[in-house]
Symmetry: C2
C-alpha cells in the first residue's frame, strides 16, 4: 500500500552537512590564526584549550576566544593587544564559513529532486535563528525549501526534544504529522519527539557523533545516505 506524503522536514546539523567536520576545521584555522597573531604556543595546545572552552561554554557562547586568553599562560600572549588575537580567531572562523560550508553531495541531490515535486520541503532545527539561517544560506540550499517551512527553535520558543516543536511545524504548513517525514541524526532529540507526534521518522546514520545513542522509540526508517532516502520515497510513497 502506498502512503500519502505531503511534507519532508530535515534536521540541519550533521544531517544536511557535517557540522562536526566543519567545526573541527574552523577551530583549527582559528587556532592557527591566533598563533600567527602572537600566541606563543603550539597550535595543538591552543586547539585543545579552545575545544575545552566550547565544551564547557557551549558552541553558541559568544566569547570563546576571550575565555581562551584567560586560560593560557599570560606569558604566551604578552605584549600583544588581546583584541588582535581574538579578532584573528574570529576572522579565521568566518573565512572558514565562506569556503568550507558545503552540503553532503547526496543531500543536495536529494533536495534538488524533492524541489521538483509538489511536496513541502522544510527544516526543523534547534539553535539561534541567525546562526541556523546563515548555515542554510551558506550551504546554498535555502532556495530548495518551501519559504514558509523553516522552523528554528529560537524563533518558536520551543526547543528540541520537545515534541511541540514538531507538531507546530506540521500545523503551520497545514499537514497531518502522519503525512510528514522527519529526517534527523539524533535518536533522542530528532526521532523520539517526531515519533511522539506521529510523524514518519528517518534516522540518518552517517556515523556522526550521535550514532552510538539509543532512542526510546524506533525510527520508521534508517538510512546511511540520502540515496537511501530517495529509494524509500520512490518505493513507499511513489515520489
Amino acid at each position: 500500500m502506498k502512503k500519502t506524503l505531503c511534507a519532508v522536514f530535515f534536521d540541519v546539523d550533521d544531517t544536511l552537512y557535517s557540522t562536526t567536520e566543519f567545526a573541527a576545521l574552523a577551530r583549527r584555522r582559528s587556532a592557527e590564526a591566533m598563533r600567527a597573531a602572537g600566541i606563543n604556543l603550539p597550535t595543538e595546545k591552543i586547539l585543545k584549550e579552545l575545544n575545552e572552552v566550547v565544551e564547557e561554554f557551549t558552541s553558541n557562547y559568544e566569547h570563546h576566544y576571550d575565555k581562551l586568553l584567560l586560560r593560557i599562560p599570560r606569558s604566551s600572549s604578552e605584549g600583544i593587544n588581546p583584541a588582535l588575537i581574538v579578532a584573528a580567531g574570529v576572522i579565521a572562523y568566518h573565512e572558514t564559513k565562506s569556503t568550507a560550508l558545503k552540503p553532503y553531495p547526496d543531500a543536495l541531490a536529494a533536495l534538488k529532486r524533492l524541489s521538483e515535486t509538489s511536496l513541502i520541503r522544510g527544516v526543523i532545527t534547534a539553535g539561534l535563528q541567525i546562526k541556523q539561517a546563515e548555515k542554510l544560506i551558506r550551504l546554498g540550499i535555502h532556495p530548495l525549501f518551501s519559504p514558509n517551512a523553516i522552523f528554528i527553535s529560537d524563533q518558536i520558543g520551543v526547543g528540541k526534544p520537545n515534541p511541540k516543536l514538531y507538531l507546530r511545524a506540521c500545523d503551520e504548513v497545514g499537514v497531518r504529522p502522519g503525512e510528514a517525514i522527519y529526517v534527523g541524526d539524533n535518536p533522542l532529540t530528532d526521532i523520539d519527539p517526531a515519533n511522539a507526534v506521529g510523524m514518519i521518522t528517518v534516522l540518518f546514520r552517517r556515523g556522526g557523533k550521535y550514532s552510538h545513542l539509543r532512542g526510546r522509540s524506533r525510527p520508521t526508517y534508517s538510512i546511511e545516505n540520502f540515496r537511501d532516502l530517495t529509494r524509500i520515497l520512490q518505493r513507499d510513497f511513489r515520489i
Copy 2:
C-alpha cells in the same frame, strides 16, 4: 632645526582606509542580498531604510537588519522566514569585509617605510575592540605596527575626544607627547585633543566626511595624502 621624533600614531577610520566608501559598498551589497532573500522592494528603497537605521542607532548597533524589517511594509517580506533575510544581509556585509577592506595604497607605502625605521608605530582609535582590531587585520597592516602600541578606546575606558586617551597612549609606550605625531582626519576628535596634550598633529584632508569641520585649534601640519607625510618626516624630522 630638526626635531626629535619617537612615535607616530594613526587614526584608523577614514585615515588608513576609506571607511565611508567601504560602509557604502557593504550596505549596498547587504540590501541586494536581502532583496535576493525575499524582500519585495527595490534595492534603493531597502538601502535608504538601512542608512536611516544606521544613522539612528549608530554603526556599532548589532541589530540593524532586525530594525530594518520592522520599518518596511509587512507585506514586502510576507511568507519568508525573517531570519533568512537578516542572515542574508549579515553574510553579504561580512563577505564585503573579506574582499573590499583595503588600505589607501599611499598609507600602506608610508606604513611600510616607517616600519623600517626605529620609530614606534601605533594606532589610537575609537570604537569596539574586536571591530577595530578586525579592521587592522583585514587591512593586512597589523604587522606594520609596534605590537604594544595599539590603543582602542573600548579597551581603555576613555573615548575620543578625551585628551586622556592620547596621553595614555604616549605614556604606555614611554614617549613624551612632544615627540609623538598623531595623524587623523577629524579636527574635533583627533586634532584638538592631541594638540591639547602637546602632540605634533597632522590633519589628513582627503575630502572625507569631516573635511568641512573646523577645530578649536590648528594642526601642526595638514596633508592631502600619505606622500605628504613622508615628505614632512624627511624634511622636519630627518626620517
